[in-house]
């Protein structure tokens, strides 16, 4: 009996979601958009967590604010712009592509290119094996081969 109760409790236990019931919008489409936006926005208190799953006060305020703006008819981009205007690009988990982030976006490709170039150069420098080896069949081998082919046909 106790064991069954424990199992039931364990099944009931689910990860704590930071979005609280009173925040959820009645319109499921808007709520989905709100969830998607919140997942992309960094909490400025607990910095490696999106506001969607953060329990910080500011994160809750931002979630409520995002929902208010969605209800007021803002587009997703308008909401992101609103947040960036106040908190900077840092609040976005995916930073925009602009001069100050060129190193961030292009760095990996630059390193890949340098590595690729290094491999290409070192391969091209390696001395090729002279292709002097005779690959032709000798007369003896030719006749042997012809004989075998004949045998094959007669089968």
């Amino acid at each position: 009996m106790i064991r069954a109760a424990l199992v039931a409790l364990a099944l009931l236990a689910s990860p704590a979601f930071a979005v609280e019931p009173d925040e959820v919008l009645s319109d499921p489409a808007l709520e989905d958009r709100a969830r998607a936006i919140s997942a992309n926005v960094r909490c400025v208190v607990c910095q490696n967590e999106p506001i969607d799953s953060s329990n910080a006060g500011v994160a809750r305020d931002l979630r409520v604010l995002i929902r208010e703006r969605l209800v007021a008819g803002d587009t997703d981009q308008e909401i992101y712009d609103f947040l960036v205007l106040r908190y900077g690009d840092f609040v976005l988990f995916k930073p925009p592509f602009k001069p100050s982030t060129y190193a961030l976006w292009l760095g990996p490709f630059a390193i890949l290119f340098i590595g690729g170039a290094a491999v290409a150069i070192s391969l091209s420098r390696r001395p090729r094996r002279p292709a002097t080896k005779d690959t032709h069949l000798s007369t003896k081998e030719e006749t042997e081969l012809a004989k075998l082919m004949e045998e094959d046909k007669s089968l």
Binding site: V44, V45, F90
Partner: protein, 180 residues
């Protein structure tokens, strides 16, 4: 050429090591966020006064009318570091001739009034931000935060955390920088 190639791993190790030393030294705080408000005018604020406190509320226009350097301090009575920095800010206001402006963040008016009565009220203007919206407009991540606003009404520095101890020293450095 060949010899140079052999030195390459060492060079890479030196670069990475140097970066690590740079990152770990100099009291750098990797979690400190850059503020987008630096060199910008104060965002549009329109805050009513705190009920029961004898100070006017504040708007951005009010702030730009004030003369000299202003400290915009976001605080709350429920925040212990705010209590710790309060005497320092009060003293700074008096000794350095700075105008103190307060934003009472997510606080009950009666609690804020009691807090100010107990610790003293150095603020020229006090806005109540019960909903925390002004906090979002200022891009704060918590309380206390203090902004240094120059004579032209431009935000010059954002200081997150209490102005005490080492923080007070860094705050004074920032203030000297603004005064230059």
């Amino acid at each position: 050429m060949k010899r140079l190639l052999f030195a390459l791993p060492l060079l890479v190790a030196l670069i990475i090591g140097g970066f690590a030393i740079w990152g770990l030294s100099g009291g750098r705080d990797p979690s400190a966020l850059p503020s987008v408000l630096i060199s910008q005018p104060v965002p549009q604020l329109d805050l009513g006064p705190i009920e029961g406190v004898d100070r006017p509320g504040l708007t951005t226009a009010d702030i730009s009318r004030m003369e000299g350097i202003k400290l915009l301090n976001v605080f709350a009575s429920w925040c212990a570091p705010c209590r710790a920095e309060h005497p320092n800010l009060t003293r700074l206001g008096q000794e350095e001739g700075l105008t103190l402006i307060g934003i009472n963040y997510k606080d009950k008016p009666e609690a804020a009034a009691k807090w100010l009565e107990e610790l003293g009220n150095p603020y020229t203007a006090l806005g109540s931000d019960y909903a925390g919206r002004a906090g979002i407009d200022l891009g704060i991540s918590g309380v206390p935060e203090t902004f240094i606003i120059d004579a032209d009404g431009i935000i010059r520095h954002r200081f997150a955390g209490p102005v005490v101890g080492d923080g007070l020293k860094r705050f004074m450095d920032a203030l000297d920088e603004v005064r230059k």
